[in-house]
């Protein structure tokens, strides 16, 4: 750890998750000192608990938020649009671990899908061949199973049901990964003990997160000034419109200003957009870097849903790595199914506490309890697919709600696109068939949970009028402002986003280091 003076113009990164934590490590490894602001506390594996609600209270971002739109989350969880983490390591401390790559056509959704009514589709300004070496680096850093010599995880019970159902349905592309948790010791971290707790923080340290890998390594360089419990509230700029500082509140509520020569925003898609909007100024009255009007828009949260299935025999789905089971057969683009884009099926498990809350929010009575009583005989999968970017789906500043600091709370508006609905219905039908093929007596299609994948609110575009940042995550309007998280996703693809966020951050670090060395920043 190092201490960087507040009046020293530093590289300041806001957020320590997949994007910010990775960027901090990659820059310090290139001898560039970094101030890393993290809104949450520095929890470690000893702090974590296996109690779902206690863990939620400890880790989740529960600052005031509001949501609306036609998605069901707005009805059931009007103050919880997203389930993400507020702690050092960010949402990598509770992610499940699946690491599929984007497919080539998913970087070019506008070209691949054509015009889709109501969708604000755009091609990414980068492509799969350009990303391939960065994906390699990310997979090696994260220890993805099935890649670069990493062993696959063994089949747990929930996977056995998924894989057998997939096989009987005629699917071929199933496996226990790629998944960024160690099947055997790797990179100084132990093999998984199959304890079944991922969303509650990994007490064993087998799962990749920036908390266990990038941040300690950045600290070890002596060039990282990590500041937990420090909540950024505004990025300031000079008379030339270049970012020159970050205002943040410490844990006592005192405001500080860190001078900056470069600012990276990586607060997850809701907070990143909110921070740019909060950073409005006379020069940037619509929010910082928002000449396109796209800041906060095109919010994507993936097409999601779950299928629960109950059998005559026990499953014990909660034992073992939660998401170490992936079926890719439906991840293709094939419009004969009635929609563009595709989706993955991945094993998932909730304990009784979260299952009761999220299975069918508001449900009660015998129909509900009879389902809960078959808990031990239950298998489950999660559906994750590409959702359409829509301009109306957006993060704005609430005109009335405020957070604990008195700052305008973010409001998240989301409508399902017709393509999202068609894909979800297809997935519900296919997944019920999958489980029935191995003898399911009862299936239960579950509505989307609050968003765990939050994307697109500060999107990448070739042209400044179409988006907020360029192919390096560099703001079109502010040359020393970067965005380093899933906010930059031009489109969502079907893949779980963490691998791509990490790959983009490694690539971005390389670019920033080169630009700084060349005196361009």
């Amino acid at each position: 750890m190092s201490t960087i003076a507040h009046d020293e113009p530093a590289v300041v990164i806001i957020g320590s998750g997949a994007g910010g934590g990775t960027l901090a490590y990659e820059l310090t490894a290139r001898h560039i000192p970094v101030v890393l602001l993290e809104a949450g506390p520095h929890l470690t594996h000893d702090d974590y608990t296996n109690d779902e609600w206690d863990a939620f209270g400890q880790m989740a971002w529960t600052d005031m938020r509001t949501d609306n739109g036609s998605w069901r989350v707005a009805r059931d969880f009007p103050n919880l649009p997203a389930w993400t983490v507020k702690a050092v390591g960010g949402t990598t401390t509770h992610w499940a671990g699946a690491t599929p790559r984007f497919k080539p056509h998913e970087f070019k959704a506008r070209t691949a899908y054509g015009r889709v009514d109501g969708a604000n589709l755009l091609d990414w300004p980068i492509d799969a061949s350009e990303m391939a070496p960065w994906y390699d680096k990310a997979e090696i850093a994260m220890g993805s199973t099935h890649r670069h010599g990493r062993k696959p995880l063994p089949a747990n019970n929930n996977y056995k049901v998924l894989a057998n159902g997939a096989e009987r349905l005629g699917y071929k592309y199933y496996a226990t990964g790629p998944y960024a948790t160690n099947a055997e010791e790797y990179d100084g971290r132990p093999a998984s003990v199959q304890d079944g707790f991922n969303f509650q923080g990994d007490k064993n340290g087998s799962k990749w997160s920036t908390l266990v890998r990038e941040i300690p390594r950045a600290c070890a360089t002596g060039l990282l000034d990590l500041r937990p419990n420090c909540h950024a509230v505004q990025i300031t700029h000079d008379a030339q419109g270049r970012a020159d500082g970050v205002l943040y509140l410490d844990e006592n509520g005192a405001m500080h200003r860190q001078r900056a020569r470069l600012v990276s925003v990586a607060g997850n898609a809701i907070e990143s957009a909110r921070l740019l909007l909060l950073s409005e100024s006379p020069m940037f009255p619509d929010g910082l870097a928002n000449s396109s009007g796209q800041v906060g828009r095109n919010y994507m949260r993936h097409l999601t849903g779950s299928q629960y299935a109950q059998f005559d025999e026990p499953v014990h789905m909660y034992r073992g790595e939660t998401m170490a089971g992936i079926v890719a057969d439906e991840s293709k683009h094939d419009t004969s199914r009635g929609f563009v884009g595709g989706y993955y099926l991945e094993t998932v498990s909730l304990g009784p506490a979260f299952l009761a809350k999220f299975l069918d929010p508001g449900a009660w009575g015998r129909n509900f309890t009879s389902f809960m009583e078959q808990y031990a005989n239950t298998a489950a999968l999660w559906i994750v697919g590409e959702d359409m970017p829509q301009e109306c789906n957006r993060v704005t500043l609430s005109p009335s709600a405020t957070d604990q600091h008195g700052l305008p709370a973010p409001n998240v508006y989301y409508d399902d696109h017709a393509n999202d609905t068609a894909m979800r219905e297809h997935a519900y039908r296919r997944t019920a068939q999958l489980y029935q093929a191995v003898g399911a007596k009862r299936t239960y299609a579950t509505t989307p949970y609050p968003s765990t994948h939050n994307l697109g609110t500060v999107r990448m575009s070739e042209r400044p009028e179409d988006g907020v940042v360029n192919q390096w995550g560099r703001a079109h309007d502010v040359p020393n402002l970067f965005v380093s998280d899933g906010s930059v996703f031009t489109t969502s693809a079907a893949a779980n986003p963490t691998l791509t966020i990490v790959a983009l951050a490694i690539r971005q670090a390389d670019y920033i280091a080169d630009q700084m060395a060349a005196g361009e920043i």
């Binding site: 019970n157 057998n164 592309y173 003990v193 073992g320 009660w364 009575g365 360029n470």
Partner: protein, 175 residues
């Protein structure tokens, strides 16, 4: 007699037991003993204790259920009481019971035991030696990826149509 003061003290001795009975009608599990329902009832009473309004909602709600069940809500079966609750699903009284209990009841160790959930595992070394893979009523599946032909990721919408290029065009304004 209804209370004249709506403080926690005025709730009376039976309120936990009566509320627990109503909670069993919300989430009826025949194999769950009274303990978890009573603990959930106590949690609700504790959470409303700071609000005279919500305390009154609970007291009056229980009194109303008595009225709808012939005088004593504890004298009817859980299913009979469930049928009565269907009529009041939208009331604040019911919503307080529902939203609190779904959290507390299903976080209760005794309920976990009844459902066959094993709870904390990290302190027991996980399940790596305790049955994470003990399912034996299906064949052992492959864990490696399929080694045949790769998945066709992109199917052109016109049968036999050509696939567009997904490379970034090198012309244009990219900087």
């Amino acid at each position: 007699m209804p209370p004249t003061e709506y403080s926690a003290d005025a709730l009376g001795e039976n309120v936990t037991r009566r509320l627990a009975r109503a909670l069993r009608a919300v989430f009826p599990h025949d194999n769950v003993p009274d303990g978890p329902y009573e603990r959930s009832a106590e949690a609700i009473l504790s959470s409303v204790s700071a609000s005279p309004h919500q305390t009154a909602v609970i007291v009056e709600g229980l009194r109303g259920l008595d009225g709808l069940t012939g005088g004593d809500l504890t004298a009817v079966t859980a299913d009979e009481l469930s049928a009565v609750l269907l009529q009041i699903e939208r009331t604040e009284f019911f919503q307080i019971m529902l939203t609190n209990t779904v959290v507390t009841l299903y976080s209760d160790q005794e309920v976990w035991d009844a459902l066959g959930y094993e709870g904390f595992s990290s302190d027991k070394g996980g399940y790596v030696s305790r049955g994470f893979d003990d399912l034996d009523w299906l064949p052992e599946p492959r864990v490696e990826e399929y080694d045949g032909e790769p998945l066709t990721d992109y199917v052109p919408s016109i049968p036999g149509g050509t696939q567009p290029s997904f490379e970034t065009k090198k012309t244009g304004a990219a900087r």
